[in-house]
């Protein structure tokens, strides 16, 4: 808890998520990221005079899905409003958004924070269109506008001020992102801007009922950035309060590189958005049948899956929460678990070597999944069985894994090709053991005199001589037998 001795922190988050529909919310242009500037535009998303918006119904299904996933009630009526303000990336001079009748409201999200579950209430989820992007050219006194992003469907998810600390904010974002990924409705890539987060934060003396004056933080580009910005803000507000000062209601801009925020505009300078119903889009009834059919497409969500992993697979808390974080990883785990009945071993491999290989190879690639490693569940299971049968050691398995990724061969093929099987032939092993015993007279003597550590050394020597192909367990037993202390 970052909450200081004297003050309680209250945080609410506004998350903007780009929905990954193929076309934009009010026209047929592509939403693909990274295209040449102004190539994915038309009169509608450029806001040209006379052009009119037409609502993309696919967006509605996506939005309803999210609304239901965060336990909101879905509005019976779909209505858009205009939010009026001037900015060069907003070609119509207004953003089509939802004001008094959000698509979804009154929900809640259960997060896992500090090892316990906590409910964060969701105020509302509403649809709007994204704006374009300004490009500032070094050394020029003007900026350029790229309208490609204009009209990308955006979902705003607003939480109640139920979050008590920066860590909780981080955990909330992690949970929300996991849910959105499970639903398959967004890339949730903060660097590319497909997930953005603004935070409202206030401090109040412990025991005080009414909330303190809040500030709004913008421009955080990572979850870590959100956490850092909130931590900075707590310190800043506390200092002011301690000095007997007053918090000014304002919007502050986070500078990640500098590790601090600065005032962007005060409440007095806040915009009057002059919301009014969008006359170019006719309100329509949200079909109950549609809501029902969307509900059926919602998969088991991470929090539920976590519970099930604990109870069904008896996984440790940490492994379960790591695995459920990502739907593909969890799916992969479950596929393996149907083939191999020691789930905790699978979990160890996944959270250990497999995820570390994944991070090594795919850390910079968006939308890569664990399946992209190319280790089929049956191959992983085959490898685990080879260990069980004593055909290979765990150490060899660790060496085989990268081979499997590189060559796409099965573990059996790799073991055969490289002669990595464990030496199970006792005669062959006996020869090697005898060699080790005869050339290590001192440790043998030590062991016989009761020095247990000497045994481990000798086992190591055997492993070295066999290039790891011996079973340490068998070597251990045979050594003891030979040195007369069974």
């Amino acid at each position: 808890m970052t909450t200081t001795a004297k003050y309680e922190t209250t945080i609410g988050l506004e998350v903007h998520v780009q929905l990954s529909t193929q076309s934009k919310i009010f026209c047929g242009c592509s939403t693909k990221f990274g295209a040449t500037a102004n190539t994915q535009t038309c009169p509608v998303c450029m806001g040209l005079p006379g052009a009119l918006p037409v609502f993309n119904r696919k967006v509605l299904s996506y939005a309803i899905k999210v609304g239901l996933a965060v336990n909101c009630s879905i509005a019976g009526m779909m209505k858009f409003d205009r939010k009026n303000y001037f900015y060069p990336d907003l070609p119509k001079g207004f953003q089509i958004s939802q004001y008094d009748l959000p698509l979804a409201a009154n929900g809640e999200l259960v997060i896992l924070t500090g090892g316990v579950q906590k409910k964060i209430r969701i105020t509302r989820v509403h649809l709007e269109e994204d704006a374009g992007k300004l490009i500032h050219v070094e050394g020029e006194d003007s900026s350029l506008v790229d309208f490609n992003r204009c009209g990308t469907p955006l979902l705003e998810i607003v939480s109640e001020p139920d979050i008590d600390s920066p860590q909780e904010a981080y955990d909330y974002l992690t949970e929300l992102k996991a849910i959105l990924k499970y639903l398959g409705v967004s890339d949730c890539n903060m660097e590319e801007g497909s997930l953005r987060c603004d935070a409202n934060i206030s401090l109040r003396p412990k025991g005080q009922r009414e909330l303190g004056v809040r500030t709004e933080l913008k421009n955080m580009n990572t979850f870590k950035g959100v956490k850092n910005a909130l931590e900075y803000e707590i310190e800043r507000q506390e200092e002011i309060l301690e000095d007997g000062g007053r918090i000014v209601q304002e919007t502050r801009l986070w500078n990640d590189a500098a590790g601090k925020s600065s005032s962007m505009r005060s409440k007095e300078e806040a915009f009057d958005y002059r919301y009014f119903p969008e006359p170019d889009l006719v309100p329509f009834t949200v079909d109950k049948k549609l809501v029902g059919s969307v509900r059926e497409t919602i998969p088991e969500l991470p929090r539920k899956r976590y519970e099930r992993f604990l109870s069904d697979y008896k996984l440790p808390v940490l492994a379960a929460s790591t695995i459920v974080q990502d739907k593909d990883t969890a799916d992969y785990f479950e596929e393996c678990a149907t083939l191999y009945k020691k789930p905790h071993i699978i979990a160890n491999w996944i959270t250990g070597d497999i995820l570390s290989e994944f991070n090594k190879r795919f850390s910079s690639e968006r939308n890569a999944t664990i399946m992209d490693l190319g280790i089929k569940p049956e191959d992983l299971v085959e490898m685990l069985r080879l260990i069980d049968k004593g055909e290979i050691s765990g150490k060899i398995a660790k060496a085989i894994l990268p081979e499997m990724i590189e060559t796409k061969q099965s573990p059996d093929e790799i073991v055969k090709a490289k002669g990595m099987f464990q030496i199970k032939d006792k005669d062959e092993l006996a020869k090697i053991l005898d060699g080790v015993i005869s050339s290590n007279a001192k440790p043998v003597e030590d062991y016989k005199n009761g020095k247990e550590a000497a045994l481990a050394f000798l086992v190591g020597q055997v492993m070295k001589a066999t290039k790891g192909k011996a079973s340490p367990k068998i070597v251990n037993e045979m050594l003891k037998e030979r040195m007369g202390r069974p």
């Binding site: 009169p43 450029m46 806001g47 040209l48 005079p49 006379g50 052009a51 009119l52 918006p53 037409v54 609502f55 205009r82 009026n84 001037f86 060069p88 070609p91 119509k92 001079g93 207004f94 506008v145 009057d272 002059r274 919301y275 009014f276 006359p279 170019d280 889009l281 006719v282």
Partner: protein, 481 residues
Amino acid sequence: MPNDLYKLTAYEIRELIKKRDVSPEEAASSFSDRIGRIDDKVNAFISYDKENIKEELKRIKGKEAGALYGVPVAVKDNICVEGRLTTCGSKILEGFKPPYNATVIENLRREGAIVIGRANMDEFAFGSSCETSCYGPTRNPWDLERIPGGSSGGAAASVAAGEAAISLGSDTGGSIRQPAALCGVVGMKPTYGRVSRYGLIAFASSLDQIGPFARDMRDCALLLNVISSYDPKDSTSVDRKVPDYTNALVNDIKGVRIGIPKEYFIEGIDAQVKDSVSSAIKLLEKLGAKVDEVSLPHTDHAVSTYYIIGPAEASSNLARFDGVQYGLRAKGPLLDMYKDTRAAGFGDEAKRRIILGTYVLSSGYYDAYYLKALKVRTKMREDFEKAFESFDCIVTPTSPTPAFKIGERVDDPLSMYLSDIFTIPANLTGIPGVSIPCGFAETDLPIGLQILARPFNEEMLIRVGYTFQENSAFHKKRPRL
């Protein structure tokens, strides 16, 4: 040697071309010569050039079967035509050439019509006199010292003066019907949603509707046939079968129930207008209609409601004219660029409406103005629904006065706003309305009769209008020019 095809109706021209008595080139040159001869005086057009007409003539090759094949049409300058200047009568759209066609333009071209020129208008359709255009006022062909009405003044005047056979205007509070009345032509505002607004540069999205100007009811029906369509690109357009409106050209109104709203015969209405309209109603009664008084109790609030909703939507619709993408752009850092562009680009009336609209939408005022206006709008809709339970149509004067002098009301916005008092309710309620010539004031100024009907009952307007026309001769009289 100028031919006088320009004196004919669209239907007559179409028939001559069909019989191959006349070529589209001949028809086009008759009108373009006429424009060349008189438009210096009338100023019905903002842009018009012979090169464009040549292109249009090439474009219609192969469209011989089209309903308007070879018919020259004037198009109000707020309807987008691909690659052609589209100005809305405003400096702020300087040099703007839309990269796409309005749906009505696609419809016109599909039927072989020729866009002969771009008609003058009040800036962004803000006005009732066609005086706020940055390209100078259009003059009434009946009296060049007078206004043609507005905002579609150029479209009305061009048809009245024989510079176009038919034309397209837009009507937000009477902008087709009022200039039609003042110029002595037929002008119809179809039901909201009947004609696609895609490509119409919006004034007030919930009120705007494109509609036809014509010299008689037949041409009006012909043009309505062509421009009416369900358009998936306009969410407010209605997916409803388009009937053949020429089937409603029936000279028979026996038994048609006509309501005369008592609230419309107000004080301040010109005596000659009152007389002409009364005579027209008598004629309709004589032709077999059942005429009775009807009440539309919320009529009093129409103008104030309109001047809240219209400017509110306009203030938002016009926000896009910010100098960033197209049109006029002032130099300087962002905020100065915005301010200077809009200060230089918009005329006084546009600024007045933007300020008015911004004010009524501001937080703290929204409920008192905009929300209340929406409620009144609902009340007015109920008034009409009730009236149409007992009546097939409602007949009123179109404008309280005939055309006034240029400059007479420029400095008196309120009296200017009141010239739309009878036409505004149809926009607020979405119902269709038409203005037809029904008489002349002493000084030879046309007077219009407005007919209103239920939503999507344009056929009733056509039937009543056609019957009146077939039993009178007001529509045949042309200005001396």
